[in-house]
Protein backbone atom coordinates (compact mmCIF):
# COMPACT_ATOMS: atom_id res chain seq x y z
CA UNK A 1 0.00 0.00 0.00
CA UNK A 2 2.89 2.30 0.67
CA UNK A 3 4.09 2.12 -2.90
CA UNK A 4 0.87 3.52 -4.44
CA UNK A 5 0.74 6.23 -1.79
CA UNK A 6 4.33 7.15 -2.48
CA UNK A 7 3.60 7.18 -6.19
CA UNK A 8 0.59 9.41 -5.66
CA UNK A 9 2.64 11.70 -3.44
CA UNK A 10 5.38 11.91 -6.04
CA UNK A 11 2.80 12.54 -8.76
CA UNK A 12 1.22 15.28 -6.67
CA UNK A 13 4.65 16.79 -6.00
CA UNK A 14 5.44 16.76 -9.71
CA UNK A 15 2.05 18.25 -10.48
CA UNK A 16 2.58 20.89 -7.84
CA UNK A 17 6.00 21.74 -9.22
CA UNK A 18 4.55 21.83 -12.71
CA UNK A 19 1.79 24.10 -11.52
CA UNK A 20 4.31 26.30 -9.83
CA UNK A 21 6.37 26.55 -13.00
CA UNK A 22 3.24 27.44 -14.95
CA UNK A 23 2.33 30.10 -12.41
CA UNK A 24 5.79 31.60 -12.84
CA UNK A 25 5.27 31.66 -16.58
CA UNK A 26 6.88 29.96 -19.53
CA UNK A 27 10.15 31.30 -20.80
CA UNK A 28 9.85 33.62 -23.77
CA UNK A 29 12.65 33.18 -26.24
CA UNK A 30 13.82 36.10 -28.36
CA UNK A 31 14.16 34.76 -31.89
CA UNK A 32 15.59 35.72 -35.27
CA UNK A 33 16.14 33.84 -38.51
CA UNK A 34 18.58 30.92 -38.39
CA UNK A 35 22.02 32.08 -39.45
CA UNK A 36 21.16 35.76 -39.17
CA UNK A 37 24.35 36.43 -37.26
CA UNK A 38 22.56 37.86 -34.24
CA UNK A 39 23.15 35.54 -31.29
CA UNK A 40 22.99 37.97 -28.40
CA UNK A 41 21.40 41.34 -27.72
CA UNK A 42 21.52 43.63 -24.74
CA UNK A 43 18.30 44.21 -22.83
CA UNK A 44 18.72 47.92 -23.50
CA UNK A 45 18.84 47.40 -27.26
CA UNK A 46 15.93 44.98 -27.07
CA UNK A 47 13.91 47.60 -25.23
CA UNK A 48 14.93 50.29 -27.71
CA UNK A 49 13.99 48.05 -30.61
CA UNK A 50 10.52 47.38 -29.18
CA UNK A 51 9.95 51.02 -28.23
CA UNK A 52 10.23 52.43 -31.71
CA UNK A 53 13.92 53.18 -32.08
CA UNK A 54 16.15 52.02 -34.89
CA UNK A 55 18.46 49.21 -33.76
CA UNK A 56 20.79 47.14 -35.90
CA UNK A 57 21.79 43.54 -35.34
CA UNK A 58 23.44 40.91 -37.50
CA UNK A 59 24.16 43.55 -40.13
CA UNK A 60 20.52 44.54 -40.59
CA UNK A 61 18.09 47.02 -39.13
CA UNK A 62 15.95 44.96 -36.79
CA UNK A 63 12.23 44.87 -37.47
CA UNK A 64 10.39 43.95 -34.25
CA UNK A 65 7.21 41.89 -34.15
CA UNK A 66 5.06 41.66 -31.06
CA UNK A 67 2.77 38.95 -29.78
CA UNK A 68 -0.90 39.74 -29.97
CA UNK A 69 -2.16 42.30 -27.48
CA UNK A 70 -3.48 41.07 -24.17
CA UNK A 71 -1.87 37.64 -24.48
CA UNK A 72 0.32 36.23 -21.69
CA UNK A 73 3.29 36.41 -24.06
CA UNK A 74 2.78 40.10 -24.80
CA UNK A 75 2.09 41.11 -21.22
CA UNK A 76 5.07 39.13 -19.98
CA UNK A 77 7.45 40.56 -22.58
CA UNK A 78 6.28 44.13 -22.06
CA UNK A 79 6.74 43.77 -18.33
CA UNK A 80 10.13 42.06 -18.46
CA UNK A 81 11.73 44.05 -21.27
CA UNK A 82 9.91 47.37 -21.47
CA UNK A 83 9.18 47.50 -17.74
CA UNK A 84 5.58 48.50 -18.43
CA UNK A 85 2.13 47.24 -17.53
CA UNK A 86 -0.54 47.04 -20.27
CA UNK A 87 -1.87 50.42 -19.08
CA UNK A 88 1.54 52.00 -19.32
CA UNK A 89 2.20 50.47 -22.73
CA UNK A 90 -1.07 51.92 -24.00
CA UNK A 91 -0.23 55.38 -22.71
CA UNK A 92 3.32 55.16 -24.04
CA UNK A 93 2.29 54.50 -27.65
CA UNK A 94 -0.59 56.94 -27.72
CA UNK A 95 1.66 59.69 -26.38
CA UNK A 96 4.30 58.92 -29.00
CA UNK A 97 1.64 59.17 -31.65
CA UNK A 98 0.68 62.68 -30.53
CA UNK A 99 4.33 63.70 -30.50
CA UNK A 100 4.52 62.65 -34.15
CA UNK A 101 6.91 59.79 -33.44
CA UNK A 102 6.90 56.27 -34.83
CA UNK A 103 4.29 53.78 -33.67
CA UNK A 104 4.29 50.41 -31.96
CA UNK A 105 5.72 47.33 -33.65
CA UNK A 106 3.36 45.21 -35.67
CA UNK A 107 1.73 42.45 -33.63
CA UNK A 108 1.09 38.97 -35.00
CA UNK A 109 -1.77 36.66 -34.06
CA UNK A 110 0.16 33.59 -32.88
CA UNK A 111 3.54 32.21 -31.94
CA UNK A 112 3.49 30.25 -35.20
CA UNK A 113 3.15 33.51 -37.11
CA UNK A 114 6.06 34.99 -35.20
CA UNK A 115 8.17 31.92 -35.91
CA UNK A 116 7.38 32.08 -39.61
CA UNK A 117 7.95 35.82 -39.90
CA UNK A 118 11.19 35.65 -37.89
CA UNK A 119 12.44 32.90 -40.19
CA UNK A 120 11.53 34.53 -43.48
CA UNK A 121 11.30 38.28 -43.07
CA UNK A 122 14.58 40.21 -43.40
CA UNK A 123 15.75 41.58 -40.05
CA UNK A 124 12.71 40.32 -38.16
CA UNK A 125 12.99 39.81 -34.42
CA UNK A 126 10.27 38.47 -32.17
CA UNK A 127 9.64 36.34 -29.14
CA UNK A 128 7.72 33.16 -28.41
CA UNK A 129 7.44 30.44 -25.77
CA UNK A 130 10.38 28.07 -25.74
CA UNK A 131 8.24 25.12 -26.74
CA UNK A 132 7.30 26.91 -29.97
CA UNK A 133 10.85 27.10 -31.30
CA UNK A 134 11.24 25.77 -34.83
CA UNK A 135 14.24 24.60 -36.80
CA UNK A 136 14.48 27.68 -39.03
CA UNK A 137 14.79 30.24 -36.24
CA UNK A 138 17.43 30.71 -33.57
CA UNK A 139 17.25 31.87 -30.00
CA UNK A 140 18.99 35.10 -29.09
CA UNK A 141 20.60 35.45 -25.69
CA UNK A 142 19.67 38.58 -23.74
CA UNK A 143 22.55 40.31 -21.97
CA UNK A 144 24.52 37.14 -22.68
CA UNK A 145 22.05 34.94 -20.81
CA UNK A 146 20.56 32.10 -22.86
CA UNK A 147 16.96 31.09 -22.34
CA UNK A 148 18.14 27.74 -21.03
CA UNK A 149 19.93 29.51 -18.20
CA UNK A 150 18.14 29.57 -14.84
CA UNK A 151 18.81 33.33 -14.60
CA UNK A 152 16.75 34.05 -17.73
CA UNK A 153 13.74 36.09 -16.61
CA UNK A 154 11.68 36.91 -19.69
CA UNK A 155 8.56 34.85 -19.11
CA UNK A 156 4.89 34.82 -19.98
CA UNK A 157 2.57 36.54 -17.55
Amino acid sequence: MKTPIASIAIALLIAALGGSAHADGKKLVVVVAKGSGLTSISRTDLKRCFTGESVSGGGKTLVPFNASTGTPDRIGFDKAVLGMSPDEVGRFWVDRKIRGQSGAPRSLPSAAHIAKVAAKFPGAIGYLPADQLTSDIQAVAVDGVAYTDARYDIVTQ
Binding site: D87, S102, R106, K116, A119, K120
Partner: protein
Amino acid sequence: MKRAVLILLILAGSTQRGFARTDDERLAGDPVPPSADDLAKAADAAAEVAAVPVDAPPPTPTNASPPAKASSDDIDLGSLGLDPNASSFDDKLNIYGFADIGFQVLHWTKNPVFFPQDTRSFAVGNFNLYLAKPLTPKARALAEVRFSFVPNGSTRPDGTIVDTTSTDSANFDRPVQWGGIIIERVHVEYDLTEHLTLRAGRWLTPYGIWNIDHGSPTIIGVTRPYIIGEQFFPEHQTGLDLFGNHYESGFKIDYHLTASNGRGATEATVDRDNKLAFGGRLQVETPWGVKVGGSYYRGRYTGLPPAPGMPAPTYREAAYGGDAQFDNGALHLQAELIVRDRDYQFGPPVTFDPAARDLGYYGLAGYRLQRFWNVMPYAFYESYEPADRATFSRVYAINAGLNFRPTSTLILKLQGTYPWFRDDGVGLLAGQTIEIFSAQASWVF
Protein backbone atom coordinates in the same frame (compact mmCIF):
# COMPACT_ATOMS: atom_id res chain seq x y z
CA MET B 1 -15.04 74.21 -8.30
CA LYS B 2 -18.18 72.15 -7.76
CA ARG B 3 -19.39 73.13 -11.20
CA ALA B 4 -16.09 72.16 -12.74
CA VAL B 5 -16.21 68.75 -11.04
CA LEU B 6 -19.79 68.20 -12.10
CA ILE B 7 -19.09 69.09 -15.70
CA LEU B 8 -16.04 66.88 -15.80
CA LEU B 9 -18.03 63.95 -14.46
CA ILE B 10 -20.75 64.52 -17.06
CA LEU B 11 -18.16 64.66 -19.82
CA ALA B 12 -16.49 61.54 -18.46
CA GLY B 13 -19.73 59.68 -18.13
CA SER B 14 -20.88 60.37 -21.64
CA THR B 15 -17.52 59.57 -23.14
CA GLN B 16 -17.18 56.37 -21.14
CA ARG B 17 -20.48 55.10 -22.46
CA GLY B 18 -19.13 55.55 -25.95
CA PHE B 19 -16.04 53.61 -25.08
CA ALA B 20 -18.03 50.84 -23.51
CA ARG B 21 -19.87 50.27 -26.75
CA THR B 22 -16.62 50.17 -28.67
CA ASP B 23 -15.13 47.70 -26.22
CA ASP B 24 -18.12 45.40 -26.56
CA GLU B 25 -17.61 45.28 -30.28
CA ARG B 26 -13.91 44.78 -30.10
CA LEU B 27 -13.94 42.17 -27.39
CA ALA B 28 -16.27 39.75 -29.07
CA GLY B 29 -14.71 36.35 -28.58
CA ASP B 30 -11.63 37.76 -26.99
CA PRO B 31 -10.66 35.96 -23.78
CA VAL B 32 -8.45 38.69 -22.32
CA PRO B 33 -9.63 41.13 -19.64
CA PRO B 34 -11.25 44.20 -21.21
CA SER B 35 -9.22 46.91 -19.55
CA ALA B 36 -5.82 45.54 -20.43
CA ASP B 37 -6.92 44.63 -23.90
CA ASP B 38 -8.39 48.01 -24.58
CA LEU B 39 -5.13 49.67 -23.70
CA ALA B 40 -3.08 47.19 -25.63
CA LYS B 41 -5.27 47.64 -28.68
CA ALA B 42 -4.82 51.35 -28.40
CA ALA B 43 -1.11 50.71 -28.48
CA ASP B 44 -1.44 48.64 -31.59
CA ALA B 45 -3.69 51.24 -33.11
CA ALA B 46 -0.80 53.61 -32.63
CA ALA B 47 1.33 51.20 -34.60
CA GLU B 48 -1.00 51.57 -37.50
CA VAL B 49 -0.68 55.31 -37.68
CA ALA B 50 2.99 55.98 -37.61
CA ALA B 51 5.96 54.81 -39.55
CA VAL B 52 6.66 51.12 -39.64
CA PRO B 53 10.36 50.44 -39.11
CA VAL B 54 12.40 51.13 -42.18
CA ASP B 55 12.73 48.43 -44.79
CA ALA B 56 9.46 46.89 -43.71
CA PRO B 57 6.81 46.06 -46.31
CA PRO B 58 3.29 47.30 -45.78
CA PRO B 59 1.35 45.80 -42.90
CA THR B 60 -2.21 44.65 -43.33
CA PRO B 61 -4.98 45.46 -40.89
CA THR B 62 -4.70 43.46 -37.71
CA ASN B 63 -7.81 41.76 -36.44
CA ALA B 64 -8.32 41.48 -32.73
CA SER B 65 -8.99 37.78 -32.99
CA PRO B 66 -7.76 35.43 -30.30
CA PRO B 67 -4.42 33.75 -30.86
CA ALA B 68 -4.76 31.18 -33.59
CA LYS B 69 -3.29 27.73 -33.44
CA ALA B 70 -1.67 27.87 -36.84
CA SER B 71 0.93 25.62 -38.25
CA SER B 72 3.93 27.53 -39.52
CA ASP B 73 3.52 25.88 -42.91
CA ASP B 74 -0.06 27.14 -43.22
CA ILE B 75 0.89 30.77 -42.81
CA ASP B 76 1.06 32.88 -45.93
CA LEU B 77 3.28 35.88 -45.24
CA GLY B 78 1.98 37.59 -48.34
CA SER B 79 -1.50 37.62 -46.85
CA LEU B 80 -0.06 39.44 -43.83
CA GLY B 81 1.56 42.01 -46.07
CA LEU B 82 4.94 40.61 -45.09
CA ASP B 83 6.07 38.90 -48.25
CA PRO B 84 9.88 38.83 -47.93
CA ASN B 85 10.21 39.04 -51.71
CA ALA B 86 8.05 42.11 -52.02
CA SER B 87 9.88 45.28 -52.91
CA SER B 88 7.19 47.62 -51.65
CA PHE B 89 7.06 49.37 -48.29
CA ASP B 90 4.36 50.85 -46.13
CA ASP B 91 3.22 53.92 -48.03
CA LYS B 92 -0.16 54.09 -46.35
CA LEU B 93 -1.47 57.54 -45.39
CA ASN B 94 -2.28 57.58 -41.68
CA ILE B 95 -4.82 60.03 -40.33
CA TYR B 96 -5.31 60.57 -36.62
CA GLY B 97 -5.48 63.38 -34.11
CA PHE B 98 -6.66 64.72 -30.81
CA ALA B 99 -9.15 67.21 -29.46
CA ASP B 100 -10.14 68.73 -26.16
CA ILE B 101 -12.91 70.67 -24.52
CA GLY B 102 -12.64 72.53 -21.27
CA PHE B 103 -14.50 74.58 -18.76
CA GLN B 104 -12.93 77.38 -16.78
CA VAL B 105 -14.02 79.58 -13.92
CA LEU B 106 -11.83 82.63 -13.31
CA HIS B 107 -12.09 85.21 -10.57
CA TRP B 108 -9.90 88.28 -10.01
CA THR B 109 -9.75 89.06 -6.33
CA LYS B 110 -9.57 92.81 -7.10
CA ASN B 111 -11.60 94.32 -9.91
CA PRO B 112 -9.10 94.63 -12.79
CA VAL B 113 -11.16 97.39 -14.48
CA PHE B 114 -9.92 96.57 -17.98
CA PHE B 115 -11.61 93.17 -18.15
CA PRO B 116 -14.37 91.30 -16.33
CA GLN B 117 -13.72 90.31 -12.75
CA ASP B 118 -15.48 86.95 -13.17
CA THR B 119 -15.68 84.71 -16.20
CA ARG B 120 -16.87 81.16 -16.68
CA SER B 121 -16.91 79.46 -20.03
CA PHE B 122 -16.68 76.27 -22.01
CA ALA B 123 -14.05 76.26 -24.72
CA VAL B 124 -13.03 73.95 -27.52
CA GLY B 125 -9.29 74.20 -27.17
CA ASN B 126 -7.73 71.99 -29.79
CA PHE B 127 -8.88 69.94 -32.72
CA ASN B 128 -5.66 68.77 -34.33
CA LEU B 129 -5.41 66.43 -37.27
CA TYR B 130 -2.26 64.51 -38.19
CA LEU B 131 -1.40 63.24 -41.65
CA ALA B 132 1.58 60.87 -41.68
CA LYS B 133 2.94 59.02 -44.66
CA PRO B 134 6.14 57.10 -45.34
CA LEU B 135 7.49 58.14 -48.72
CA THR B 136 10.39 55.73 -49.10
CA PRO B 137 11.98 53.32 -46.62
CA LYS B 138 14.14 56.23 -45.43
CA ALA B 139 11.84 59.19 -45.93
CA ARG B 140 8.55 60.18 -44.35
CA ALA B 141 6.25 63.16 -44.17
CA LEU B 142 4.15 64.51 -41.34
CA ALA B 143 1.62 67.31 -41.20
CA GLU B 144 -0.33 68.51 -38.20
CA VAL B 145 -3.06 71.08 -38.62
CA ARG B 146 -5.18 72.64 -35.94
CA PHE B 147 -8.71 73.60 -36.78
CA SER B 148 -9.70 76.63 -34.80
CA PHE B 149 -12.59 79.00 -34.24
CA VAL B 150 -10.22 81.96 -34.22
CA PRO B 151 -10.07 84.68 -35.42
CA ASN B 152 -13.73 84.91 -34.38
CA GLY B 153 -13.87 86.27 -30.86
CA SER B 154 -10.21 87.35 -30.78
CA THR B 155 -9.40 90.71 -29.20
CA ARG B 156 -7.56 93.20 -31.37
CA PRO B 157 -4.83 95.46 -29.93
CA ASP B 158 -7.32 98.34 -29.81
CA GLY B 159 -9.67 96.31 -27.61
CA THR B 160 -12.32 95.54 -30.26
CA ILE B 161 -13.35 91.98 -30.87
CA VAL B 162 -13.11 90.20 -34.20
CA ASP B 163 -16.46 89.09 -35.57
CA THR B 164 -16.34 86.65 -38.51
CA THR B 165 -20.08 86.32 -38.86
CA SER B 166 -21.03 85.87 -42.51
CA THR B 167 -24.12 84.75 -44.32
CA ASP B 168 -24.37 81.19 -45.51
CA SER B 169 -25.79 81.08 -49.02
CA ALA B 170 -26.24 77.33 -48.70
CA ASN B 171 -28.57 77.91 -45.77
CA PHE B 172 -30.86 80.78 -46.75
CA ASP B 173 -28.16 83.32 -45.93
CA ARG B 174 -28.40 82.59 -42.26
CA PRO B 175 -25.50 83.80 -40.12
CA VAL B 176 -22.48 81.57 -39.73
CA GLN B 177 -19.14 82.20 -38.07
CA TRP B 178 -16.06 80.95 -39.79
CA GLY B 179 -12.78 79.95 -38.18
CA GLY B 180 -9.23 79.32 -39.25
CA ILE B 181 -6.59 76.64 -39.71
CA ILE B 182 -3.25 76.75 -37.96
CA ILE B 183 -0.48 74.71 -39.53
CA GLU B 184 1.37 73.37 -36.51
CA ARG B 185 3.93 71.49 -38.59
CA VAL B 186 4.41 70.17 -42.07
CA HIS B 187 7.71 68.56 -42.90
CA VAL B 188 9.55 65.82 -44.67
CA GLU B 189 12.33 63.76 -43.10
CA TYR B 190 15.14 61.72 -44.59
CA ASP B 191 17.41 59.33 -42.68
CA LEU B 192 20.96 60.21 -43.68
CA THR B 193 22.44 57.58 -41.39
CA GLU B 194 21.23 55.49 -38.48
CA HIS B 195 22.11 58.40 -36.20
CA LEU B 196 21.24 61.41 -38.34
CA THR B 197 18.00 62.55 -39.94
CA LEU B 198 17.35 65.72 -41.90
CA ARG B 199 13.98 67.38 -41.51
CA ALA B 200 12.81 70.18 -43.84
CA GLY B 201 9.67 72.24 -43.58
CA ARG B 202 7.81 73.87 -40.73
CA TRP B 203 8.47 72.12 -37.46
CA LEU B 204 8.01 72.55 -33.75
CA THR B 205 11.16 74.02 -32.23
CA PRO B 206 13.04 71.30 -30.39
CA TYR B 207 13.43 72.85 -26.97
CA GLY B 208 12.47 71.86 -23.46
CA ILE B 209 9.82 69.27 -22.72
CA TRP B 210 6.44 70.71 -23.56
CA ASN B 211 6.94 72.36 -26.92
CA ILE B 212 7.15 69.32 -29.18
CA ASP B 213 5.11 67.49 -26.57
CA HIS B 214 2.37 70.06 -27.08
CA GLY B 215 -0.80 67.98 -27.43
CA SER B 216 -3.34 68.31 -24.65
CA PRO B 217 -3.46 64.50 -24.12
CA THR B 218 0.23 64.45 -23.23
CA ILE B 219 0.30 67.63 -21.14
CA ILE B 220 -0.24 66.70 -17.50
CA GLY B 221 -2.01 69.91 -16.52
CA VAL B 222 -5.00 71.55 -18.18
CA THR B 223 -2.60 74.01 -19.78
CA ARG B 224 1.14 74.18 -20.17
CA PRO B 225 3.04 76.41 -17.74
CA TYR B 226 2.63 80.05 -18.69
CA ILE B 227 6.21 80.58 -19.81
CA ILE B 228 5.97 77.80 -22.41
CA GLY B 229 3.12 79.64 -24.08
CA GLU B 230 5.06 82.90 -23.95
CA GLN B 231 7.35 81.59 -26.68
CA PHE B 232 10.74 82.72 -25.45
CA PHE B 233 11.82 80.25 -28.10
CA PRO B 234 9.74 80.42 -31.30
CA GLU B 235 7.07 77.72 -31.08
CA HIS B 236 7.50 76.89 -34.76
CA GLN B 237 10.25 77.50 -37.25
CA THR B 238 10.54 77.09 -41.00
CA GLY B 239 13.78 75.64 -42.28
CA LEU B 240 16.01 72.66 -41.58
CA ASP B 241 16.41 70.49 -38.49
CA LEU B 242 19.29 68.02 -38.45
CA PHE B 243 18.71 65.61 -35.60
CA GLY B 244 19.46 62.16 -34.30
CA ASN B 245 20.42 60.13 -31.30
CA HIS B 246 23.17 57.86 -30.14
CA TYR B 247 23.33 55.17 -27.46
CA GLU B 248 26.43 54.39 -25.50
CA SER B 249 26.72 52.28 -22.36
CA GLY B 250 23.08 52.78 -21.42
CA PHE B 251 23.18 56.53 -22.01
CA LYS B 252 21.19 58.05 -24.83
CA ILE B 253 22.16 61.33 -26.39
CA ASP B 254 19.65 63.25 -28.52
CA TYR B 255 20.81 66.18 -30.59
CA HIS B 256 19.37 68.82 -32.90
CA LEU B 257 20.88 71.55 -35.03
CA THR B 258 18.48 73.98 -36.68
CA ALA B 259 18.62 76.71 -39.32
CA SER B 260 15.50 78.65 -40.16
CA ASN B 261 13.90 81.94 -41.13
CA GLY B 262 13.68 82.66 -37.42
CA ARG B 263 10.83 84.48 -35.80
CA GLY B 264 8.91 86.97 -37.91
CA ALA B 265 5.58 88.28 -39.05
CA THR B 266 5.64 86.09 -42.15
CA GLU B 267 8.32 83.59 -41.26
CA ALA B 268 6.58 80.56 -42.78
CA THR B 269 6.71 82.04 -46.23
CA VAL B 270 9.08 85.04 -46.27
CA ASP B 271 12.13 85.87 -44.18
CA ARG B 272 11.71 89.63 -44.04
CA ASP B 273 15.26 90.31 -42.84
CA ASN B 274 17.13 87.75 -44.95
CA LYS B 275 18.95 86.53 -41.88
CA LEU B 276 18.93 82.90 -40.84
CA ALA B 277 18.36 81.91 -37.25
CA PHE B 278 20.29 79.05 -35.70
CA GLY B 279 19.64 76.82 -32.77
CA GLY B 280 20.31 73.48 -31.20
CA ARG B 281 19.44 71.07 -28.48
CA LEU B 282 21.29 68.41 -26.59
CA GLN B 283 19.69 65.93 -24.22
CA VAL B 284 21.25 63.16 -22.21
CA GLU B 285 19.15 60.30 -20.91
CA THR B 286 20.67 58.18 -18.19
CA PRO B 287 19.89 54.57 -17.27
CA TRP B 288 18.48 55.82 -13.94
CA GLY B 289 15.46 57.59 -15.36
CA VAL B 290 16.99 61.06 -15.42
CA LYS B 291 16.92 63.20 -18.57
CA VAL B 292 18.74 66.50 -18.75
CA GLY B 293 18.55 68.82 -21.73
CA GLY B 294 19.76 72.20 -22.90
CA SER B 295 18.52 74.31 -25.82
CA TYR B 296 19.71 77.44 -27.59
CA TYR B 297 18.30 79.76 -30.23
CA ARG B 298 19.62 82.92 -31.81
CA GLY B 299 17.99 84.97 -34.54
CA ARG B 300 16.34 88.17 -35.60
CA TYR B 301 12.67 89.03 -35.46
CA THR B 302 11.27 91.31 -38.11
CA GLY B 303 7.63 92.32 -38.13
CA LEU B 304 5.52 94.27 -40.57
CA PRO B 305 5.83 98.05 -40.91
CA PRO B 306 2.93 99.81 -39.16
CA ALA B 307 2.40 101.96 -42.25
CA PRO B 308 3.94 102.18 -45.74
CA GLY B 309 7.33 103.79 -45.61
CA MET B 310 7.80 103.24 -41.90
CA PRO B 311 10.48 100.93 -40.55
CA ALA B 312 9.42 97.45 -39.49
CA PRO B 313 9.96 96.53 -35.85
CA THR B 314 12.94 94.29 -35.52
CA TYR B 315 15.16 92.92 -32.78
CA ARG B 316 17.86 90.38 -32.24
CA GLU B 317 17.13 87.69 -29.72
CA ALA B 318 18.82 84.82 -28.00
CA ALA B 319 17.04 82.19 -25.92
CA TYR B 320 18.50 79.64 -23.55
CA GLY B 321 16.67 76.78 -21.94
CA GLY B 322 17.44 73.99 -19.52
CA ASP B 323 15.19 71.12 -18.57
CA ALA B 324 15.25 67.99 -16.47
CA GLN B 325 12.97 65.02 -15.98
CA PHE B 326 13.03 62.12 -13.57
CA ASP B 327 10.84 59.04 -13.79
CA ASN B 328 10.91 56.31 -11.21
CA GLY B 329 7.95 53.98 -11.33
CA ALA B 330 4.84 56.04 -10.75
CA LEU B 331 6.76 59.17 -9.77
CA HIS B 332 7.32 61.87 -12.36
CA LEU B 333 9.27 65.08 -11.84
CA GLN B 334 10.09 67.71 -14.41
CA ALA B 335 11.34 71.27 -14.54
CA GLU B 336 12.24 73.84 -17.15
CA LEU B 337 14.06 77.16 -17.01
CA ILE B 338 13.92 79.52 -19.99
CA VAL B 339 15.62 82.85 -20.55
CA ARG B 340 15.37 85.23 -23.48
CA ASP B 341 17.40 88.33 -24.23
CA ARG B 342 16.19 90.85 -26.79
CA ASP B 343 18.00 93.73 -28.36
CA TYR B 344 15.68 96.15 -30.14
CA GLN B 345 17.02 98.33 -32.89
CA PHE B 346 13.84 99.79 -34.38
CA GLY B 347 10.40 100.32 -32.98
CA PRO B 348 10.64 99.17 -29.37
CA PRO B 349 7.52 99.55 -27.25
CA VAL B 350 7.61 102.65 -25.09
CA THR B 351 7.89 100.65 -21.90
CA PHE B 352 10.44 98.21 -23.19
CA ASP B 353 13.86 98.36 -21.65
CA PRO B 354 16.29 97.43 -24.41
CA ALA B 355 18.56 94.53 -23.68
CA ALA B 356 16.25 93.43 -20.89
CA ARG B 357 15.61 89.80 -20.14
CA ASP B 358 12.55 87.55 -19.91
CA LEU B 359 12.94 84.75 -17.42
CA GLY B 360 10.67 81.97 -16.31
CA TYR B 361 10.71 78.54 -14.79
CA TYR B 362 8.49 75.85 -13.38
CA GLY B 363 8.82 72.62 -11.44
CA LEU B 364 6.24 69.83 -11.52
CA ALA B 365 5.70 66.66 -9.52
CA GLY B 366 3.15 63.95 -10.24
CA TYR B 367 2.42 60.44 -9.11
CA ARG B 368 0.43 58.07 -11.35
CA LEU B 369 -1.71 55.61 -9.38
CA GLN B 370 -2.96 52.33 -10.82
CA ARG B 371 -6.45 52.96 -9.51
CA PHE B 372 -9.26 55.53 -9.76
CA TRP B 373 -8.94 55.73 -13.56
CA ASN B 374 -5.16 55.74 -13.28
CA VAL B 375 -5.31 59.12 -11.61
CA MET B 376 -2.19 61.24 -11.31
CA PRO B 377 -2.31 63.89 -8.58
CA TYR B 378 0.10 66.64 -9.60
CA ALA B 379 1.26 70.06 -8.57
CA PHE B 380 3.54 72.62 -10.11
CA TYR B 381 4.96 75.96 -9.20
CA GLU B 382 5.85 78.55 -11.82
CA SER B 383 7.32 81.99 -12.01
CA TYR B 384 7.65 84.53 -14.82
CA GLU B 385 9.57 87.78 -14.88
CA PRO B 386 8.95 89.63 -18.16
CA ALA B 387 11.23 92.16 -19.75
CA ASP B 388 8.24 94.34 -20.56
CA ARG B 389 6.86 95.47 -17.19
CA ALA B 390 3.87 97.39 -18.45
CA THR B 391 1.52 94.76 -17.10
CA PHE B 392 3.47 93.29 -14.18
CA SER B 393 7.03 92.87 -13.02
CA ARG B 394 6.67 89.27 -11.86
CA VAL B 395 3.99 86.66 -11.51
CA TYR B 396 4.01 83.46 -9.50
CA ALA B 397 1.51 80.62 -9.56
CA ILE B 398 0.72 77.44 -7.74
CA ASN B 399 -1.18 74.78 -9.65
CA ALA B 400 -2.58 71.53 -8.32
CA GLY B 401 -4.82 69.00 -9.97
CA LEU B 402 -5.80 65.51 -10.93
CA ASN B 403 -5.09 63.90 -14.29
CA PHE B 404 -7.30 60.86 -14.89
CA ARG B 405 -6.54 58.41 -17.67
CA PRO B 406 -9.31 55.81 -17.72
CA THR B 407 -8.01 54.58 -21.07
CA SER B 408 -4.89 55.50 -22.96
CA THR B 409 -6.93 57.61 -25.40
CA LEU B 410 -9.12 59.51 -22.94
CA ILE B 411 -7.74 62.03 -20.47
CA LEU B 412 -9.75 63.98 -17.90
CA LYS B 413 -8.26 66.79 -15.85
CA LEU B 414 -9.24 68.98 -12.94
CA GLN B 415 -7.00 71.84 -11.90
CA GLY B 416 -6.90 74.73 -9.52
CA THR B 417 -4.51 77.61 -10.23
CA TYR B 418 -3.64 80.51 -7.98
CA PRO B 419 -1.45 83.19 -9.64
CA TRP B 420 -0.37 86.30 -7.81
CA PHE B 421 1.39 89.37 -9.19
CA ARG B 422 4.20 90.98 -7.30
CA ASP B 423 2.88 93.95 -5.34
CA ASP B 424 5.62 96.45 -6.16
CA GLY B 425 3.51 99.10 -7.87
CA VAL B 426 5.01 98.23 -11.24
CA GLY B 427 2.49 97.45 -13.97
CA LEU B 428 -1.28 97.40 -14.20
CA LEU B 429 -1.70 94.11 -12.37
CA ALA B 430 0.64 94.70 -9.44
CA GLY B 431 -0.81 93.16 -6.30
CA GLN B 432 -3.56 91.28 -8.14
CA THR B 433 -4.38 87.64 -7.55
CA ILE B 434 -6.56 85.27 -9.55
CA GLU B 435 -8.44 82.12 -8.66
CA ILE B 436 -8.84 79.75 -11.60
CA PHE B 437 -10.61 76.41 -11.66
CA SER B 438 -10.41 74.36 -14.84
CA ALA B 439 -11.70 71.07 -16.13
CA GLN B 440 -10.77 69.45 -19.41
CA ALA B 441 -11.53 66.31 -21.38
CA SER B 442 -9.15 65.44 -24.18
CA TRP B 443 -9.08 62.43 -26.41
CA VAL B 444 -7.06 60.82 -29.16
CA PHE B 445 -8.72 59.45 -32.26
